[in-house]
Amino acid sequence: MSAAALTTRPPDPALLAWLGQAGEPPTSADEPAWLAELRHDAAARAPDQGMPTQKSEGWRYTGLSALIEQGFKPQQKPISALQSEDLDKALIDGLETYRLVMVNGQFEPRLSQLDGLPTGVHIGGLAELIAQDPDRLAGQLGQIAGAGQHLFTSLNTANFADGLVMLLDEQVQLDRPVELLHLSIGLDEPSVAQPRHLVVLAAGAQAELIERYLSFDQAPYCNNAVVEIRLAERAQLHHYRLQQESPSAYHLSGLYLEQAAASRYRGINIGLGATWSRTDLVTRFLAEQADCGLQGLYLAGDRQLIDYHMDVQHQVPHCSSRENFKGILHGKGRAVFDGRVYVARDAQHTDAAMSNRNLILSPNAEVDTKPQLEIYADDVKCSHGTTVGQLEPEMLFYLRSRGISAPLAQRMLCLGFAGEIIDALGPEPLREQVTEAVGQRLEQSPL
């Protein structure tokens, strides 16, 4: 595909805005040829992928008009307004991490804490590594996501400026979790940040990664993040993703995961914030005995849409995958769960299970849940289950008969429901923070 493709089909004006005025990616003389080509291809691909409409299956319940109307523009210059005092508000008490802070999509070394990293570990900013040692990224960056699930991945690839690079050598184990903290502050012009992260664990390496998204004010902005993760043989990653952006924020995130033999991935996705959010989790197994667990908890209230899409690709035999998502909907909240598991003909002895359970606390809330199992192999163990229900009156009465008020009884039952997912978050301070955040949300919001 060439640059001409851009001109043969008039691109959507909104899309053009995201790409920059010329519809061309920002090329820099510092970038190696392979990266320029990667960006160029992505920019050329974007118009063909097109802006999704609600006629396309993957976006049936998730309209883009509100996102487009905001007229987000790529952010031009880095933000330096945040001070370490501001950062304190974003940190979680008792959580010791190696911390990489992004402010509006740009790595902010002043706020980061990467001292004392063991040997065999590289953690740092993407722009920095592109400038200093781009060869370490060749064959990795952009290769795991490829063309991606949709336009927004291509837009990120064409435009990303910065992000996290985390590279672990063979057998390395980190003594602390790595925290990737996205902080956003409002600008005069609504802007889109497109952070790009790359995590590569060599054979037998083990790590915990905490990926958080927070806002400092109520101004509208958009995050369009892409994370690429590659796990070599027997590597293990625990990945906790907490989306707690402001009620005015728009959040897009694509996670592309590639797993080699006997590798193990555990992802726990907590979606509490943003007015509109769409997350795609894409897993590909490269060899046998790989194991992928995707868990999630979402809480959607008034003026909120939270959309989780999964695409788990079993192309090889003897791999296992678990999807377990729980949702709580209140007010006029809306959520979408689409958990696709594909089992190819050769993927014998696949073990796949998918579950999505929802609690609806208000008659005005809505969840569209779609578990999809596509199985072409004949010797597999696959299951799926979906429920949408309300709080049991019996349970509420039991709590109230012990003197507990109706609103507190509801909150206790909701937290009990959510507890299964929250408990999967490894570090205790993280569990406490999420429990408190969920409790607070339920306390403040009309049910």
Binding site: M395, F397, R400, G403, I404, L408, M412, G416
Partner: protein, 250 residues
């Protein structure tokens, strides 16, 4: 303490309680006995404020308060406690957290300070000891995966923690083997006191071998048709309910 006058209640279109009168004084233990379908459990549920019952006539006065106008949590805050026949499982709700929320909700409603974590744990340990329970129940979700006996013991433990003025035990003996029954009854007896009344609702005499009532009432067809001392329970055991209910019908 509790004064029930001419209480009538229905479920849907069906009249269940048809003019029930009962007076319970402080510290008294009353047994309500009766055949299946006599309205025993309905009476317990109406007192506790469960939804699904319509009170059509009568009054319930609890220490000077009109009980029927109150929400279930308000009744509990005034000192009413229902030990459930079928305790409800609450997956994901930790038993200790549940108890602490309940104790503090009640303390707060009474104008007492809420207990901090340390004082609460101390109280819990003390009560466990009195009831000869081990603390493994506390770390689990409320009633979730508990055996029948564990569930009933957990009810009595809650009663010990909440210190009610009136405890209603709804068929607490059902589903318990004799050993479990003894343990549960011992727990209940440990909680008897001059300020705590009890209403023991049961089909069978056997619970009353362990929890000695001051008064026994026979409930049939929605009304109390006979009242007496604990010897009445023995007589019922011997002769069956038809001894009284047939006489009533004649």
């Amino acid at each position: 303490m509790l004064s029930v006058k001419g209480l009538k209640a229905k479920v849907g279109d069906k009249d269940i309680l048809k003019g029930l009168d009962l007076e319970v004084g402080p510290g008294e233990v009353h047994a309500i006995m009766g055949p299946n379908g006599s309205g025993k459990s309905t009476f317990a549920h109406v007192l506790s404020g469960r939804e699904g019952y319509e009170v059509t006539a009568g009054s319930v006065d609890f220490n000077g308060q009109d009980l029927l106008g109150l929400e279930p949590e308000e009744r509990a805050q005034l000192g009413l406690f229902l030990a459930f026949q079928y305790p409800v499982e609450l997956p994901g709700v930790n038993n200790t957290y549940f108890l602490k929320s309940a104790v503090n909700a009640i303390r707060k409603a009474r104008g007492d300070d809420e207990l901090d974590a340390v004082s609460f744990l101390r109280l819990m340990k003390e009560r466990l000891k009195v009831l000869h329970l081990n603390d493994s129940l506390l770390k689990r979700p409320v009633n979730f995966g508990f055996s029948g006996g564990e569930k009933k013991r957990n009810e009595i433990f809650q009663m010990a923690m909440l210190e009610p003025k009136l405890a209603i035990l709804d068929e607490t003996d059902s589903g318990l083997d004799i050993d479990a029954l003894r343990i549960v009854a011992a727990g209940v007896n440990a909680l008897r006191g001059p300020e705590r009344s009890m209403l023991v609702v049961t089909h069978y005499q056997r619970l009353l071998d362990y929890i000695k009532p001051d008064y026994v009432h026979v409930l049939a067809q929605g009304r109390i048709i006979r009242s007496g001392g604990k010897e009445l329970a023995l007589e019922l055991e011997e002769k069956g309910y038809s001894w009284i209910t047939d006489g009533e019908a004649a």
